[in-house]
């Protein structure tokens, strides 16, 4: 029996992703520190991320509503294990905390980084606020993270 041989290939590919009309408007808003959701005229659900279509009502979404940059922490966790970041090919630093945030004026939740780790102030129901970067590029990274307030 021979020693098993393995063959390595490095994936380094790039894709040109189209944002779609709704996400383009959303991203433009981020540059100005503004968050907007699309509201379904039929069921009233306010969607983040904005998208073309309500899957429940099977209807196009067209009505924009303003969403605050403060909200409620619905869930949180602190990831301890290193994982590869597929965008950079390098491991992401640990630990890092992520949470599900229900922003004021939205009905879906947003998953994003949290400013602090540890079960001190991180709890379900905590008030959180977006920490914006000073230099913004119209991406979700314009929000650096969410921090617990009050």
């Amino acid at each position: 029996m021979s020693q098993p041989i393995s063959v390595s290939h490095e994936m380094d590919l790039a894709w040109r992703y189209a944002s779609g009309e709704a996400m383009e408007r959303f991203c433009a808003g981020l540059t100005d520190g503004r968050i907007e959701a699309l509201r379904c005229a039929a069921c009233g659900l306010r969607y983040l991320p904005p998208r073309p279509f309500c899957g429940d009502c099977r209807a196009r979404l067209t009505e924009w509503v303003a969403v605050g940059d403060e909200g409620k922490l619905e869930a949180w966790t602190e990831v301890q294990v290193p994982m590869l970041d597929a965008g950079t090919g390098r491991p992401r630093a640990t630990p890092f905390a992520i949470g599900l945030v229900r922003l004021e004026g939205a009905d879906t939740t947003l998953n994003h980084f949290l400013a602090e780790t540890g079960a001190g102030r991180l709890r379900v129901g905590a008030r959180v606020r977006a920490r914006w970067r000073s230099e913004r590029a119209g991406t979700m990274a314009d929000i650096e993270c969410f921090e617990v307030i009050g």
């Binding site: 990831v79 994982m83 970041d85 992520i98 599900l100 998953n111 379900v124 979700m140």
Partner: protein, 384 residues
């Protein structure tokens, strides 16, 4: 739908790293085992369905290379992938192809070689405009969902640990299972490191290299070839919205599983699942999910899942043994995991469970879970 049945199943040895075999060779192991079990020659297979999450191994069209392992060359072969439900989706596709009269026998093979790629990174290849830079793989997703579920239902760490112990002890009776921890205790689970609060290492499924296969046959063939065919009584799929944040309190609500189960139970004539089912193989990627699925599948009222595990209802000697195989918590080659659920459910009805056999099993449930909230529910039954 015309009657179709599962007449043979087979699996590889599952482990952290199967670097002794290539992808086609891994597929071959499972396919050969299933054909041997069904007493079928490769030439008698009419069509093949492959299940695999291609990007976990960095592949496009993985069946092009691996299909030869399933004797697929010169035959109809397709690849199905729907995240964690890939395997159950492929099984259901086989049921449909046979019931349609297109084929008499279809071989389903699911496989994954997580060791060849980066599953957590692959899982994080989500919407690049929304959460790709934040996405934290299956672990992060589950931790967030579990955080909410625990808050809402008051399930304890200890109850989750009991699921972990049940799974790994059951796995000890399954020679194919990846994790072999026959003596695991609740205390050891509670002492294992927290990897994403509240999840501990032993709350999570492993990443396995492995493959599983089964043979689906039409009515006449099934009767001729199999002593106790596992007839398909229901096969229901429900998908849901695409983003992690789309569904409110997803483990507690889990509307896809609830609705799929309700429809499947109606089709299969099941009123009380704990009474009417003999065994269940459910797709529980994390301990807490098994508790949530107990509720969604109607094994107990909402909020009583913790009591169900404490009372031993789902233990091997309980009223409804859940995951005699050790479940996803013991073995998880994603593209194969759904096939394993269905194969293990069928194997129980075939009476070939060996040390993990549930005596006299006549009606079995198998479920698939994928991409945050997708569900497949399958009910199998051996003839009365």
């Amino acid at each position: 739908m015309r009657p179709v049945a599962i007449i043979g199943t087979g699996q590889t040895r599952h482990s952290k790293r199967r670097d002794d075999v290539s992808q086609p060779e891994l597929v071959r192991e499972a396919a050969a085992a299933a054909l041997a079990d069904a007493d079928l020659r490769p030439a008698e297979v009419d069509a093949i369905l492959i299940s695999n999450m291609e990007l976990f191994e960095g592949r496009a069209f993985p069946e092009l290379w691996a299909g030869a392992g399933a004797w697929a060359i010169g035959k109809p072969c397709l690849k199905i992938a729907t995240g964690g439900t890939s395997g159950t989706s492929a099984c259901i596709a086989a049921f449909h192809q046979v019931a349609a009269g297109c084929f008499d026998t279809v071989l389903v093979v699911g496989f994954e070689k997580h060791s060849e790629g980066h599953t957590q990174a692959g899982m994080a290849l989500t919407d690049p405009y929304w959460d790709r830079s934040v996405a934290a793989g299956a672990l992060g997703n589950f931790a967030l969902s579990v955080c909410q579920y625990v808050q809402e239902r008051g399930v304890s760490e200890r109850q989750a640990a009991m699921v972990a112990v049940k799974a790994r002890r059951n796995a000890a009776a399954n020679p194919h299972a990846h994790l072999q921890l026959p003596d695991l205790t609740i205390e050891e689970v509670l002492a294992s490191p927290v990897i994403a609060a509240p999840l501990r290492r032993l709350d999570m499924c492993p990443q396995s290299d492995g493959a599983a296969a089964l043979v689906v046959a039409g009515e006449a063939s099934a009767r001729r070839r199999c002593r106790r065919p596992a007839w398909v009584k229901a096969a229901v799929t429900r998908h849901d919205k695409p983003y992690l944040g789309d569904l409110d309190r997803r483990l507690a609500t889990m509307r896809t599983l609830r609705q799929a189960a309700a429809v499947a139970y109606r089709q299969a004539g099941i009123d009380d699942p704990v009474r009417d089912l003999d065994v269940a193989e459910i797709y529980e990627p994390v301990t807490y999910a098994e508790l949530a699925w107990y509720e969604a599948l109607g094994f107990c009222p909402d909020g009583e899942a913790g009591r169900l595990i404490e009372d031993g209802v789902t233990a091997m000697d309980g009223a409804l043994p859940v995951n005699p195989s050790g479940g996803v918590l013991s073995t998880n080659p994603v593209g194969a995991s759904g096939v394993i659920r269905v194969a293990e459910a069928a194997l129980q009805l075939h009476g070939k469970g060996g040390a993990r056999q549930v005596e006299g099993a006549r009606r079995a449930l198998a479920t698939g879970y994928g991409v945050y909230a997708w569900s497949d529910v399958i009910v199998l039954e051996s003839a009365a």
